[in-house]
Symmetry: C2
Subunit: 241 residues, 2 copies
């Protein structure tokens, strides 16, 4: 399983992913699920992935090949695409084709593979945009009414986001919100696991303002997690029936 979340706020975008993958309960590994593409000041794109690792890895490899190809065009390379909408289309198409190919291979074994992605970015001259791309390649976009997108195991971590995130949330508060949302998910679903990848894109900078890998045992994250548990229990005690 996986949990990835992205917030689209007035002041920027905040993205967080876990790194745990599993093929059965007895085969658990760590793989990066956050991929960043940056031409600082010109264009920044972050992709978060959930689902079958063979689908997401192949999709990301193909997107990278298309960028690096000498024949790259605005129709094939997400670093040249004219708009973020076009970026989402290229990624959606690549995902859909890859998924269909792998699904065909798996059909022999009556299995199937699926994957979804969050794509966030901004190009110079454009606005920040964030998309959730479905396994079939179609997508939806974050808006002021729904300023966050989630993929994977999204339910445990949604109540906190519903309560505290608005488009006006500061980037610092937003990082707290996604980390606490992840914390709830980590507690409830063992197939979501540390380390975590956290990225912040400040509005109109077209670069990754900060990027942080939070390892298992990170003292700051542990302290925040513990403080939140205590605060929740205190809040609970303070409520009257």
């Amino acid at each position: 399983m996986t949990y990835c979340v992205g917030l689209l706020l007035t002041r920027g975008m905040v993205l967080l992913s876990d790194t745990r993958t599993n093929a059965g309960l007895d085969n658990i590994s760590t793989y990066r699920k956050m991929f960043t593409f940056e031409d600082p000041g010109e264009r920044v794109i972050v992709v978060l992935t959930a689902g079958s690792l063979s689908v997401t890895q192949t999709t990301m490899a193909r997107l990278t090949e298309a960028i690096e190809s000498p024949e790259a065009t605005p129709e094939t390379s997400i670093m040249q695409a004219a708009t973020m909408l076009k970026v989402a289309e290229i990624i959606g198409d690549t995902l859909a084709v890859t998924r269909a190919e792998i699904d065909d291979k798996l059909a022999a074994g009556q299995a199937s593979a699926t994957a979804s992605m969050i794509v966030a970015g901004q190009r110079r001259g454009g606005t920040m945009r964030m998309f959730l791309i479905y396994p079939e390649g179609n997508f939806i976009e974050a808006t002021e009414d729904t300023p966050f997108l989630q993929i994977g195991e999204h339910k445990y971590g949604k109540p906190i986001l519903d309560r505290v995130v608005t488009p006006e949330t500061s980037l610092e508060e937003a990082q707290k919100a996604v980390l606490l949302s992840m914390d709830s998910t980590l507690r409830s679903n063992l197939s979501v696991g540390m380390p975590l990848d956290l990225a912040v894109i400040e509005a109109d900078t077209m670069r990754i303002t900060s990027r942080r890998r939070i390892e298992a045992g990170d003292a700051g994250f542990a302290a925040m997690s513990q403080a939140w548990s205590q605060a929740l229990r205190d809040a609970f005690s303070g409520i009257s029936l």
Copy 2:
């Protein structure tokens, strides 16, 4: 959808269910999902149901018929069964048979029906026990390590239970915990809805100590929900990154 939760604590059991059922998004109704059977001082049983309404209603009707039948025996009536384990077996068997019958009917339309239940109770001379009964009729039991059981849309409301419920939780705190767990679920899943049914069984009384229907717009529940939202936001503000 549905959300039902039961806590098995040293001091008693607390059970909560919503009442919303839907056949598609355009056909939403209110049905009771909590069923109580009581011979005060002798035996008390509460059943919470989730899943296909045709399965749960028929199962409950058959269990009631079996109790009222002049030929009722400890093998067929949950009010005569020698132990709570036998109660769980009777309910599990009735559920499995009913589900299989309805599934056969639906197979023609390539549809299927499923349902699960929480069964909580105590008979004089026995201990309190709580079971989660699966659609196939097998079941698991709440224990000290896992003092709560959930059916239906269980994920949104689990983090709060994980954090505050232990076997030593008081019955008052327990009612708060299940109501706040339901509150998180109501906010996130529209197919879980008011009114709510709340029941408390104090240990060794073999009776329903209190029973309460909480209607939409209930002032106490709304106040608690609002206080919890505020407390969560305050707790969130108090955490440092």
